[in-house]
Symmetry: C2
Subunit: 181 residues, 2 copies
């Protein structure tokens, strides 16, 4: 039932944005009672972010082929497709936007979506570091910001600039090899 509720929420969110997500419609679409939905999710925001996570999780899975460059390129190219080939980009941009003036939503965004995704990325980078593929003194949180931050920079500040698979590849190559001559 939990998975059906999340699937219904994710579908409503990607179809209609935050405005389309109401506890009533989620209950109707999933076959759950409203009481059940309320029991598991304290707020509409928490439900929406969990539904978003559920909807995008498989697209954003990290492959584990053992070569950090290959794995990062695959994950970031999948993110590029998600942000530009589906409504997910505009949906998450709207949520991040609203979070700037809505502290409750900001808290839910961090705890239910951006925080867990960052933790996962740091863990993937830590494994590569422990295998000797990344510099031992590297700050992995700074690295996360330089690989995933650029997508949000374009999404939120430069909606006129393309987010393509080539863009994803260039981000990884630049950071791994460096840009100096």
């Amino acid at each position: 039932m939990r998975a059906r509720i999340l699937a219904a929420t994710g579908a409503l969110l990607l179809d209609e944005g935050m405005a389309g997500v109401t506890i009533e419609r989620v209950a109707e679409l999933s076959g759950a009672s409203k009481t059940t939905v309320y029991k598991w999710w304290p707020s509409k925001g928490a439900l929406a972010l969990d539904g978003y996570f559920h909807a995008v999780e498989s697209a954003l899975a990290f492959p584990d082929g053992g070569d950090v460059e290959v794995d990062l390129v695959a994950q970031l190219r999948s993110l590029a497709r998600l942000l530009t080939g589906t409504p997910a980009g505009r949906v998450i941009a709207g949520i991040i936007g609203q979070a700037q003036t809505d502290p409750d939503l900001a808290d839910v965004l961090l705890r239910h979506y951006s925080g867990p995704r960052r933790d996962l990325a740091v863990e993937v980078l830590r494994q590569a570091q422990e295998c000797g593929q990344l510099r031992p003194d590297l700050d992995l949180d700074v690295t996360v910001d330089q690989l995933w931050g650029p997508f949000y920079h374009r999404l939120l500040l430069f909606p006129n600039m393309p987010i393509t698979e080539e863009y994803a590849t260039a981000l990884v190559r630049n950071l791994l090899a460096g840009i100096r001559t």
Copy 2:
């Protein structure tokens, strides 16, 4: 008079956010007539973004010492101080947030602030590239996203994470030298 109007707008904006900026208060504070303000700025949003640009321009100036690493570190450390030591960070986060659901503000943000600042950054990187300090095949727009995007990633998605001068330095070192072993 133009400079006085922009200074008044910037001061109101940094003190009180977008809600504090009204044509009336800008006119009063600068000594200009409302007609004059309306003549030069078609909307409150355009005036506010020009006021923001005016207020932060000197803090975000690019030094030109001839060494791209030194110059970038200085500019980005200054940005870190601005975003965390002054109200500018919360102000621009609020504007970017509102722009996600307000196409007019998004257009004004791009034309009056983020676009011109990106053009300036690309120009600085192009000069370093022409001097042979950056790889000749480098996509300078991707580079901009990897140096400035991380600040907005933390500001907008991870308000719990610090934006310090050490952070700024790490961003430049990572990207210039690369993170691979």
